[in-house]
Every structure is written in C-alpha cells, then in structure tokens.
C-alpha cells in the first residue's frame, strides 16, 4: 500500500523498545471506582445546561418542515410581541457567519456540514433551523417559537433512496482510505467457487440518543466568548467557531467537564453558531438546550446502508473470493460515507477481494459518526454472510474463521502489531458453552420459545492522534497535577488517566490529580475513533521524559544521581532513580527543595502515529449471543451475551467492562429495535422521540459477560488499545446468527423485529 515504512520513526515503531510500563503492576490494571462518581450520584456534577449566569436568557429553535426550497414568508410579529421575548433571529437579522469548516478538511475542523448557517432563505433539509427565539424563560421561548408562521416554496428534493442510488457516486476517499480495493478477479473467482453466498443486507438510520440533549450556555465578555458546552471536540469547536465568526480563537474559552453521553454526536451543530450569534446580538448570556425532537432534526446520526456481501469458498473452507460493496445515504455537504467496508479490509485471508463504497446524495440532516461508524453495520453484513457460508460448508462458524485467519493484513500486507482473534473465539466459546449449540436450526425449543446461539467477529482499528499535549506540574510535596483538554463523557477517562499518570510518574494514585474538560488546559484533539486514551498516554509519556530531563538538570552535582544522563534514570517511588541500581535514588521533594523550587512544569506532545503506518493495528473480539424467539409471535429476546475482546492491556477492569457492555447494549439496540424512520415522501424524521425511537431498556438487557485477553500491544503506549467502540461491532450479526440458529429464518434487514421474523421463510 501507499504507506511509507518508518516515516517519522518514534519509540513505538520497529526497533523501538516497548513502553517499559506495559507489563508493570501498579495503579494501572486496578479496578478502581470512578473519581467523579460521588459528584454524579449526588447530582452535583454540573452539565452544560446547568451553569448559572446572571441575566441568563433561554432559546427555542424553529425548524423547517420541507426538505428543499425557499422560505416565502416568515411572520415573527406574534413571537416578538409574546411575553418575555427579547429577540427573534432569522436569516434576515442573523449576523454574517462564514460556512463552518467541514470535518477533516483541516485537523481542527468540526463542521458537520459545509452549509452556511441561517444566511439566506434557502432550505436544505427537513428540520433545518430557520428561527431562534430568545426569552427570559424557557416556557416563554417555547411558546413564542410556537407563534412563528412560515410559508415555503418547495422544490423537488432528493429523499428517495432507490432513486438516489441509481445516481450513486464514488466518494474521493472513505475517511482518507480508498473507496475501492481490488485484489485479483473476485467476480470470476466467486463464479467458479464450489461454495457461494451472495446476499444483500440493509441497515437503517440510527440516532445517538445520548440522554443529555445537546446544550450550551454561552456569553460574551467584550470580544471574548465563554462557552459551556456538551462536547467531545472542544479544541476543534474553538477553532471552527473562530473561523465562522472571524475572530481570534484565543478569545474563545470552552468548558465541558461533564458530557451526558456523546457516542459521536456531541460535536458541532447549528445550535453552536446560533447560540453564540444570539448572545452577540442580544448582549445577554444564552442557554440553548435542544428539545428532544430537535436533537433528531438538527443532529445527524448514522446513515442507512445497503450492502452486498458475496463469498466464494473452496472445499477446504478457505476463501477464493470476498466481495463487499454497497451504497449509503449522504448529503452533498458532508463527507462521512459510513465506512462499512472497513472490517473486510483487515479481517480474513482470501485469494481475491473486491470492495467498493458509493454514496447516494440525499437531502437530509448531515449524517455523522456514531459509535463504530462503518464497523458496526459493516460487520453485520460481513459476519452474517460468513455464518451463511459456514452453513453452506457444513462447518462450525468458529472453525470457518480459524481457517481464514490471515498471517498479515490482507489489504496492506503489513504485519499485525497484535492479533489474538482465534484466542477470543476459543476463550469465549468455552465460557459461553458454545459446544452446546446445535448446528441444526430450530433444534432447541422450550414451550413456545425457540432457542439459538450465534457468534460474530468484533473489530475496530487502533487510532492515536498526534498533536495533543499533556502538561505535568510536579510539586515539591510529591504531588502532581496532569492536565489536558480531554473529554470525560463517561468512559472513565479522568479515573483511568489518573492511574496511568501515577504509574508514569512513579507516584501513588492519591498523589495525582488529573484535570480535563476545558480549553484553558493544554491542547487536545478529540474524543473520537476510540483514540483518546492512546493519544493522551503518548503525550503523558513524552511529558514524563521532559520531566526526567528537567529533574536531572535540577538535581545537579550534589545529588546521588550526579553524572547520570536522562536516559539512565527513571521516575519511580516518588523520585528519580538510576535504572538497574535500586540505591541510587533521590526523591522529588529532595531534588526540588535543594533547587529551591516549589514545583516544575513540563509539557509533552503526542508524536506522529508512526506505529499505525508500520503495523496493521486493530482490536478484535468474538461476540456470543443466545436468543429466544417466540414461535407464536416472533418476538426475539436476547437472554445471554458474552463478548471476548483482544484490546491490548486493560487499564481499569471496572470502567473497561462498562465500556464493553455499553457498546454491546447499543449493539443489541441496533440488532433488535433501533431505527430512525425517514419519510421518503417528505424527508422528515417520523419518530423524533424516545417514546418512538426504541433504545434498550432494563428489560431488554440481560446480564452481559465480558472477558479480555489483556495481552499488551508492544507497539502502543502502555500496551493499550482504545475500547469505546469495538463493543458494538459484531453484535448485530451475533444476534441475527442466533435468530437463524433458533428459527431457521435469516433476517438481513435490521432491526430484527417480530414482524420480520414472522414473515421470513424458513431457509
């Protein structure tokens, strides 16, 4: 492939030594409770919509009810005259705002779409904000918004997927990767293969549905903007806002210490620009809390996919051909094609391969990242098809995957930095009782319930982002503060990084304070692509090296360490020690006192992610599902679930288990109930509420078992891989495969609802 070997060589690349902490016991690996737990369980954690401010005003947003066209008339007179209303903003009086810089057009661009915001009378999707009302209370704002009268001149909109599909186009890239890969002649190999599966799979739109709606509280202090946000991209928001308003980003301060769930959705949407603009125009602090309905209309989610997976196998169960193609809906104004072909690029050995992604232009709210974009729905199609192939071959599905396990990455040919997928299957099968599964569908029945088991591979790439900075302040009392503008959305970030920093600095956990959630701290990238933990761990590692060098300098010639270079010492036991010599040691307190320093502050930056350029770096897992399907009603109920994961070293088993479970539970939603219903006649979302968009409730969630290999990756900081997204991958297929095993009915169209189960023929 096109990646140069050894570009920007760092300590994580070939020839570099593994992180010396990867196998070292310490705070890392301990199952510590969350440090923000007490605030959260007592209701003391302050979220973005809860920041108090004198003179606060409240916003309500009116959205369009057509998908494409123009506003002909906009009567805001009643709204303006309503009690408590300060101000009504429309395209006629909105300040000039530049179109947001679209995601990935620059490292700090966070615009969900490149469309201008409220600058003219044109409408681009059903649900686009057209009016913002500002009032003294939320009730007054909501009432006045209700009084706005709009008429439109509608234009033909692209809202039918089947129509748009006929004009589907290849995007230039799929998140920087080629949209097409061809190895050999896969169609010919498929045609001549003795065993074939060639199927179409469909997945619907999904909404993130974080329980905290998108919200912000903002105000201007002269030319300075203070923004309390619910964000997983703070520094990107800062840069993008600066561009939209034409101001210096140094004048924007963003705080987001608690985020009530993100999952890819807590990025930048219209309410950011509109809230900031309204505050500028009114001169008052503004709070925007999106109504739940407006979260669906103004914040995009996962887009729909239509996929073809064709597999050709030889008699020995190895693959002659793999084909994975398909189309997703996207807007012409964004560039996130839902990378459903990513799993097949790295998972299995095959003689020939063809993959291709296309997009169909649809007039809708810009779709975006949602937990494991691509891998979640791509793995549904691929892993369902493998299950179908296993049956065609008369092979156990786990045995099939053993036979197609590759030696190196099938598309890049790079070595795997770490890959223990076969072990995940073996460990998971034993613990789950896979041997009890009958290969014959419909073989197990208890009363009205048919019982089946299914399995599927989970996979997600390892990502680490360069550029993020960690700042360490070490005080002479042996306490350290580690700061970076990271995002704590419930992943356990603050807790886990306190553990990691403690071990890195050779300090007890109690002596380290970790600060995150504000742009006033050192620069950080984003909480996305499961990259945050690897990114900050690399930055802290660099900062610790800088600290070591600084301490050696400060220790000087009167120290037991005199004469040693930074390469010969390590941070341990609350001080600096000579490597390989337990006696040559001086405490931080002693070094700093003698140097007459109260503290020392250093910074370190996450370097170029050269490990990703040299190795195929992915996490893996095996998802096991037991399902009961009612023979009379078709109702599917997941009764047992186990995920066995290979995600490098696990830093905190308690928070990690919750991350894995959280992904799996969102996967159960994807498998069984979740669908954002898009009315193809009008482009309008039909179920914009938590009553009609079903997410798993307590009754839908069985006890979920999670295990992991805990084998460190020698090429990553701390031996870790990010774990936020892999949990959702493979779950859709594991459930669908279990439903098939229970009933003999193959559902290839998510979600697997009882009507589909009843209607499906027995294969």
């Amino acid at each position: 492939m096109s990646f140069a070997e050894n570009t920007a060589s760092t300590r994580w690349t070939p020839g570099g030594q593994p992180d010396r902490l990867i196998n070292k016991p310490g705070a890392i690996g301990r199952s510590l409770p969350r440090i923000d737990g007490p605030q959260k369980v007592t209701g003391r954690a302050r979220f973005a919509a809860e920041v108090p401010r004198e003179g606060l005003t409240y916003a309500a947003i009116v959205t369009s009810t057509i998908a494409r066209g123009r506003i002909v008339s906009l009567d805001i007179s009643s709204a303006e005259a309503a009690p408590g209303v300060m101000f009504v903003m429309t395209h006629k009086n909105a300040p000039k705002m530049e179109p947001p810089a679209l995601f990935m057009t620059s490292p700090r661009a966070a615009g969900a779409s490149s469309l201008p915001v409220m600058q003219d009378d044109s409408i681009h999707w059903n649900g686009e904000p057209i009016v913002l009302v500002l009032a003294e209370t939320q009730e007054q704002a909501d009432y006045a918004a209700f009084l706005v009268k709009v008429s439109y001149a509608a234009e033909p909109a692209r809202t039918h997927f089947d129509d748009a599909k006929t004009k589907a186009r290849r995007p230039e890239t799929v998140l920087g990767q080629p949209p097409v890969i061809e190895i050999g002649d896969a169609e010919a190999a498929l045609a001549s293969a003795p065993h074939r599966v060639d199927r179409a799979y469909r997945t619907p739109r999904h909404s993130h549905n974080a329980i905290e709606p998108h919200a912000l509280t903002c105000w201007w202090e002269g030319d300075d903007l203070v923004l309390h946000d619910a964000s997983q991209v703070m520094h990107m928001t800062q840069w993008t806002l600066a561009g939209v308003f034409g101001i210096d980003e140094a004048r924007i301060e963003i705080h987001s210490p608690y985020v009530g769930g993100g999952f890819g959705g807590k990025t930048m949407w219209h309410h950011h620009y509109l809230g900031v603009a309204a505050s500028k125009l009114s001169g008052r602090p503004v709070r925007v809390t999106l109504s739940r309905e407006n979260v669906y209309r103004m914040v995009g989610g996962r887009t729909n996919t239509e996929q073809r997976v064709a597999l050709g196998a030889k008699a020995d169960g190895t693959l002659a051909a793999m084909i994975h193609t398909g189309v997703t809906s996207m807007t012409p104004y964004n560039d996130l094609p839902e990378q459903f072909t990513f799993p097949i690029r790295h998972l299995y050995r095959t003689d020939t391969l063809f993959l291709e992604q296309k997009v169909a232009d649809i007039d809708m709210v810009a779709n975006t990242f949602m937990r494991a974009p691509g891998e979640s729905v791509g793995s549904f199609a691929l892993e369902s098809a493998l299950d179908e192939l296993a049956e065609a071959l008369g092979l156990d599905p786990i045995e099939l995957r053993r036979r197609i396990e590759p030696e190196s990455d099938p598309t890049s040919d790079r070595r795997f930095s770490m890959r223990n997928l076969v072990k995940c299957y073996a460990d998971g099968a034993e613990r789950f009782g896979w041997a009890k599964r009958s290969p014959i569908p419909g073989a197990r029945r208890e009363g009205d319930w048919l019982i089946g088991m299914g399995v599927a591979t989970a996979t997600y790439p390892y990502f680490r982002l360069p550029g993020a900075v960690a700042r360490i302040k070490l005080a002479k009392d042996g306490r350290a503060t580690v700061a970076s503008a990271m995002h704590e959305m419930g992943m356990g970030t603050a807790t886990v990084q306190t553990q990691a920093a403690a071990d890195r600095l050779g300090l007890p956990f109690e002596n380290v304070e970790f600060q995150c959630g504000s742009t006033t701290l050192s620069y950080f990238t984003m909480a996305g692509g499961s990259s945050q933990t690897a990114t900050i761990s690399a930055a802290i590692h660099e900062a610790a090296l800088a600290l070591t060098a600084e301490l050696v300098k400060l220790a000087g010639n009167d120290s037991p360490l005199a004469g040693l270079s930074p390469e010969e010492v390590e941070l341990r036991d609350g001080g600096l020690g000579c490597m390989g010599d337990a006696k040559r040691f001086e405490s931080y307190a002693s070094i700093l006192s003698r140097a007459q320093r109260d503290d020392v502050t250093v910074e370190g930056e996450s370097p170029e992610a050269s490990e990703m350029m040299n190795y195929s770096m992915h996490s893996y897992g095996a998802q096991f599902c037991e399902v009961r399907v009612n023979a009379v009603t078709g109702e599917p109920r997941v009764t047992r679930f186990l995920g066995a994961f290979d995600c490098g070293r696990i830093l905190n088993p308690r928070t990690a288990a919750s991350q894995f479970r959280g992904g799996i539970i969102m996967g159960l939603g994807l498998a069984l109930m979740e669908e954002t219903l898009f009315d193809e006649r009008t482009g309008r979302i039909m179920n914009p509420s938590l009553a009609e968009y079903h997410v798993p409730t307590h009754m839908d969630v069985p006890e979920i078992d999670v295990i992991w290999t805990d084998i460190p990756d020698p090429h990553s900081p701390l031996g870790l891989h990010g774990i936020g997204e892999i949990g959702i991958t493979g779950v859709g297929a594991a459930v669908a495969n279990a439903v098939y095993n229970a009933t003999g009915k193959r559902i290839r169209d998510l979600p697997i609802t009882l009507d589909k189960v009843l209607a499906a023929p027995i294969a």
């Binding site: 969350r34 007592t42 739940r292 997410v695």
Partner: protein
C-alpha cells in the same frame, strides 16, 4: 407559590406553565434532576413526591405545592451518601452520569412500592405477603428509566445489593 423541596420551604412567583422539573432546575438551582426528553419517555427527571416516584417533566409545579418533593440532592451528599448512591459507585451503575439521578430516585421509589406490595406486570402472585424481587421484576420495574451508556447491569446489581442489605429479597 409555595414548595417544599428536600425539607426546605420555598416561596416564589412562577409562570403557571412551569413544570416541577423546570422549577427545580431553573428556579431553585437544583439541577441534579435531569432533563432528557421533557416528555415522560426517559425517566431522567424522576423525583420523589411524598415518597412516590414521578416524572417531574410531566408535572406542573402549581399542582405540587405543599407536597414533599425529594430530589437527588436531598437523598444524600458526597460526605453522607444514601446507600443506593454508594452502591451505584461500587457497581459502576453509570458512565456519563446523566440518567443517574433519575435512576437512583426511581429505585428509591420502586423499593418503597415493593415494600407496600404494589405489583408489577410480572408479579405472579398478587396475594402474596411479600413480593419476590427477582432479576426480571427489578428490570421490569426500572424499565421506565433509560440509560444510553449501557450501565444497566451495574444499575440492577446496585439496587439488588441495596435491597438485600436492607433485608429484602
């Protein structure tokens, strides 16, 4: 209007359209109670009124004058937590923490319902002296509180252990 919240009395003039939820969050500076949907679908706004759980977003404040409203802030503090708050930490019954106050208030109300013998759709013996709080009963009774991070297992385990410690089943 006059309200009693967490045993403190409040006198204030209020728009009659104000919900108990907005009363708490916007007027009494008690934002521990969360707004997730404002339409009774998610349970994040659950508070206790005279010991019973309600969705405060669906309750008009004017109708709740002179009743005992208890919010998450009234259940315990960081220094003196309610046993259920402690159990949520011990069992990792949350991630982002946004549905958490509602889950905890709901669970307190639910435990009182069980003590009073209030059945659920799953209760098989309506005449039994005590309700057997099985795993399914617990999950059914807590299903009005959505969690999107996927902390369900920890939430149910936190409640189960708290019920057990109080001598329930």
């Amino acid at each position: 209007m006059h309200f009693t919240v967490n045993a403190q009395s409040h006198e204030l003039t209020l728009d009659v359209r104000t919900s108990v939820l907005d009363l708490l969050r916007d007027h009494l500076q008690l934002p521990g109670t969360k707004k997730g949907c404002n339409q009774g679908a998610c349970g994040a706004c659950t508070v206790l009124v005279d010991g019973e759980r309600i969705n405060s977003c669906l309750a008009l404040a004017v109708q709740y004058q002179d009743r005992e409203i208890t919010t998450i802030e009234g259940l315990g503090t960081e220094e003196a937590m309610h046993p259920l708050q402690r159990a949520f930490i011990d069992h990792d019954g949350f991630q982002c923490g946004y549905c958490t106050p509602g889950q905890i208030c709901s669970a307190v109300g639910m435990m009182a319902e069980v003590k009073r013998g209030v059945p659920s759709v799953l209760t098989d013996d309506l005449e039994a002296e005590t309700i057997n709080l099985t795993h399914d009963e617990l999950r059914e009774r807590m299903s009005g509180n959505l969690c999107r991070c996927g902390a369900h297992n920890g939430i149910i385990e936190a409640i189960r252990t708290t019920v057990a410690a109080e001598g329930g089943r």
